[in-house]
Amino acid sequence: MATLGWSSTLTGSYVTNIGEITSIGFSLSTDHADTTSTASKYAAYVPTTIQPNTIFVSALYDGSSGGDVQQFVREFKLKRKATWTVTFPTGTFRCDGYVSTVTVASPYDSVVRLDLVITLTGEPLFNGA
């Protein structure tokens, strides 16, 4: 049975109390080397460097002066590396990273929405995966 992510949370070294999260996740990928040779008509690759990629988060602005938007804009401007932890219902994902994108949308007749991207660096750690 599928697991709902409603209890998932995000914490950072310098960012706490991120509330009203509506979506959170991370992505991983790997680079590859092209080993296609003249001996074959088909392309061939081997995996090389693992890319930790990003943590992506969507949250709702809580309206406070020290809330989510202010915290992430501050981290964005400081370009400060932090350790980020995503806690899922069944495990955690932890990796160092930088806030690389902060997007704030303020619909006229709806909630203020915060989307951010944390670009990760180094080896990610999994617990429970």
Partner: protein, 268 residues
């Protein structure tokens, strides 16, 4: 694991000087080790070095090796192979040697006749006698020399072996720029030097030419004209009393130089 001939790296370029080919090889599944050591390990695993012949085209030789880290355990190596068009230079000169002979240009024995006067008293038995003798004369021998220079993919040891094998020998069969007959060209030296750490050598082949000469074979006076190599030597008896050969001395021709087929050098 080694994969040769990567499509992403295969390329060729032809210029007026030759053909340059690049090929790529990917080495994967390398053990974890510091980067430089990994590059070195990958190069050693493949085994090609500077000067190595191309595995499929032996006239191409490796001139450059570039290795790149493609991942933590993957190294890509790009090899440059070159084939240089044979650049051959011909240098033609002439020189002068000398030899002694008692024959003229037609192979006839040079003689001189003297009639002792009747009053000759030092050896009275010769008085009034006609005496004919041959004489030895110095002869300048003009030689055409040929130097052929070309760059070769050859090792120093092979070049040394060539030099020892051919130097001092005559061509055993028709050879030369205009197809000269056997035993007309003498190899006077093969030398070379390398400006690229022994990968290629600029080799000089030196030859000297003497045309065939005529001489009279048989016993005087029943002699017939014969042709001999200009490098052969005429042997004639020298009368110790006169220091000249008698007019009827038989001339013997001896081959002094050994022969070898110059065509095996692939020069002309």
């Amino acid at each position: 694991m080694i994969t040769h001939d990567l499509i992403s790296s295969n390329a060729a370029q032809t210029t007026q000087y030759g053909i340059q080919v690049t090929t790529g090889t990917m080495v994967t599944e390398l053990p974890d080790m510091p980067g430089t050591a990994q590059l070195d390990t990958a190069i050693n695993m493949v085994g090609f070095g500077i000067g190595s012949p191309h595995p499929d085209f032996s006239q191409y030789y490796c001139t450059d090796i570039n290795a790149y880290s493609e991942g933590p355990n993957e190294v890509k190596i790009v090899y440059t192979w070159e084939y240089k068009f044979p650049e051959v230079r011909y240098e033609i000169n002439s020189g002068v040697g000398s030899e002694q002979t008692n024959m003229d240009k037609d192979g006839l024995v040079i003689t001189t006749t003297y009639t002792y006067p009747d009053s000759y008293k030092e050896q009275p038995e010769l008085a009034g006698e006609e005496y004919t003798t041959s004489v030895m004369v110095d002869k300048l021998v003009c030689e055409t020399t040929l130097t052929i220079t070309r760059q070769e993919l050859v090792t120093g040891l092979t070049l040394l072996a060539y030099s020892k094998l051919y130097t001092g020998k005559l061509n055993s069969s028709t050879w030369g720029l205009i197809g000269d007959g056997p035993r007309q060209w003498l190899c006077t030296g093969i030398s070379g030097s390398s400006a690229d750490n022994g990968v290629t050598y600029t080799v000089n082949y030196n030859f000297a030419y003497r045309p065939d000469k005529v001489y009279l074979s048989g016993t005087y006076p029943n002699q017939t004209p014969q042709w001999r190599s200009g490098w052969d030597k005429e042997i004639v008896f020298i009368d110790p009393r006169t220091d000249q050969p008698p007019e009827d001395a038989t001339i013997t021709v001896k081959q002094i130089y050994d022969t070898i087929d110059f065509n095996n050098l692939g020069l002309v």
